[in-house]
């Protein structure tokens, strides 16, 4: 079970509480987690990554285990603690605009 924490605006959009729990088949990567997230919560399509290119939106960041994973390949494995559900995968609105 993968734990995903969404920023407040996306929790509202997805109509969920603080943390989302997802079943992810196979390798646990940014791509597989976001695929599962968007399949479960279609309202989030296009809000985290572009719907056509699947590139991360510029002002969205991915954190886990106190690391910034935003620049990592979407197909790299996420940390073991995320894959085991010990630590959450955090989707964060970048600090911008004061």
């Amino acid at each position: 079970m993968i734990r995903v924490v969404l920023p407040a605006h996306l929790r509202t959009l997805a109509r969920v509480d603080r943390e989302v729990k997802l079943d992810v088949e196979g390798k646990v990567t940014q791509r597989s987690v976001l695929d599962a997230l968007e399949a479960g919560y279609p309202a989030l399509r296009g809000t985290i990554r572009d719907q056509v290119t699947h590139e991360r939106r510029a002002f969205v960041r991915f954190f886990a285990c106190e690391q910034d994973l935003s620049q990592e390949s979407p197909d790299d494995p996420l940390p073991e603690a995320v894959a085991r559900g010990v630590e959450p995968f955090l989707i964060v609105g970048a600090m911008a605009g004061g």
């Binding site: 719907q51 002002f59 609105g93």
Partner: protein, 371 residues
């Protein structure tokens, strides 16, 4: 008794203002989608309970919301607005070419007779349409593929398709306006387009009378007389009597002919409203007074409407989609300001009162007249 529902889009959410036909006591609901920019909301003429909203954010992109109960509850619908085919280039501020890139939906125009059909005007300028209530959107690429597109350039607010007028008398005829390209007309329901900017003069472009490149801020029509169009251009208030084939200046005695919105009285096709703004470098009202100007002669002769509007220390702007008229008698007129006020007049502009004073900056105002 009839009612009115005013749909207000702001920089930080949407608000719904409702009143009975007297338009004296208002209920205010919102913010809906708090914290998000709501560029536009509009109800379907065919089903007033069906409302569409454009919700966007620099962080999380574009969302489209739909209500089927008059704005009480909302559901997200499709937000995939992908250009069709080769994307192509347009002119950038520095004179270079730049690929079209989706930024946001500026304007949603529901069909006159089908609540599931809606047109969307986007930045970078293109026209999209849904026929399934917003679940899926397809571009009408004939507009963006027009040979002039490489010469379109962004205005200060971005290269937006901000106005969509559906002609009730000529099925398939659509007028759109792009800042800064100009006005285009389709007579085949959006398949093919041609620019209709003859008579416009813009000193801000190399060829002031070019076929395209004009920063048209808004166009308006009266449904009983759709061949007559009124335009607020970057500078100049213009009128066409031949469905846009030619335009003439009707700014007359306005204190300044720069501004954004323009609209037409719901029962008097020759009565037109504008809000003059001091200049394109100051973007607030002249003489620190918010004055709506009304012409009862289809232009040229304008009178200032001031009763109930702030007449000192006022430095607000009224954006292009932030004026609307209801269809009650007398006609109601509404304007929303960059200062967060929404003013309403229940007597065609003779007198005004604030409906709300302290909303976030207002981007758009639409009104529905309900049975």
């Amino acid at each position: 008794m009839s009612r009115v529902r005013v749909l207000v889009g702001t920089r930080k959410g949407a608000f719904v203002l409702t009143a009975d036909g007297r338009r004296e006591k208002w209920d205010v609901s919102g913010p809906h989608f708090g914290g998000w920019e709501i560029y536009h909301l509009k109800g379907s003429p065919a089903d007033p309970n069906r409302i569409y909203a454009s919700q966007s954010s620099s962080w999380f992109g574009q969302v489209i919301q739909r209500s089927s109960d008059g704005g009480q509850t909302w559901q997200t619908v499709g937000n995939k607005l992908a250009y069709e085919g080769a994307v192509g280039n347009h002119l950038w501020y520095d004179g270079t070419q730049r690929p079209f890139e989706f930024a946001r939906v500026w304007h949603l125009e529901p069909s006159l007779n089908d609540p599931d059909t809606v047109y969307a005007g986007i930045q970078d300028a293109a026209l999209f349409r849904t026929t399934d209530g917003g679940q899926t959107w397809r571009e009408l690429p004939g507009l963006r593929n027009h040979p002039s597109a490489a010469a379109w350039q962004p205005g200060a607010g971005g290269m937006c398709l901000h106005t969509i007028l559906l002609d009730p008398n000529h099925p398939g005829r659509i007028f759109i306006a792009i800042s800064a390209a100009g006005v285009f007309r389709s007579d085949d329901d959006g398949e093919t387009w041609r620019p209709i900017n003859r008579g416009l003069r813009s000193e801000q472009i190399p060829d002031p009378t070019a076929e395209v490149g004009h920063c048209v801020h808004r166009i308006a029509m009266h449904p009983s007389r759709p061949n007559v169009l009124f335009m607020q251009k970057h500078w100049d208030v213009m009128r066409s009597d031949d469905a846009g084939e030619t335009w003439k200046d009707v700014g007359g005695n306005l204190p300044t002919d720069f501004g954004f919105p323009i609209d037409v009285h719901s029962h008097e096709p020759n009565t037109v409203y504008v809000v003059p703004i001091k200049s394109d470098s100051e973007h607030y009202v002249p003489d620190a007074k918010l004055r709506v100007y009304r012409s009862r002669t289809g232009g040229h002769e304008w009178e200032a409407l001031t009763k109930g509007l702030p007449q000192s220390h006022c430095y607000v702007n009224v954006l292009r989609d932030a004026m609307a008229v209801d269809s009650l008698d007398p006609c109601g007129v509404y304007v929303g300001t960059s200062g967060g006020q929404v003013y309403g007049s229940a007597d065609a502009g003779d007198s005004w009162a604030p409906i709300v004073r302290d909303l976030p900056p207002v981007v758009s105002v639409e009104v529905q007249t309900l049975p």
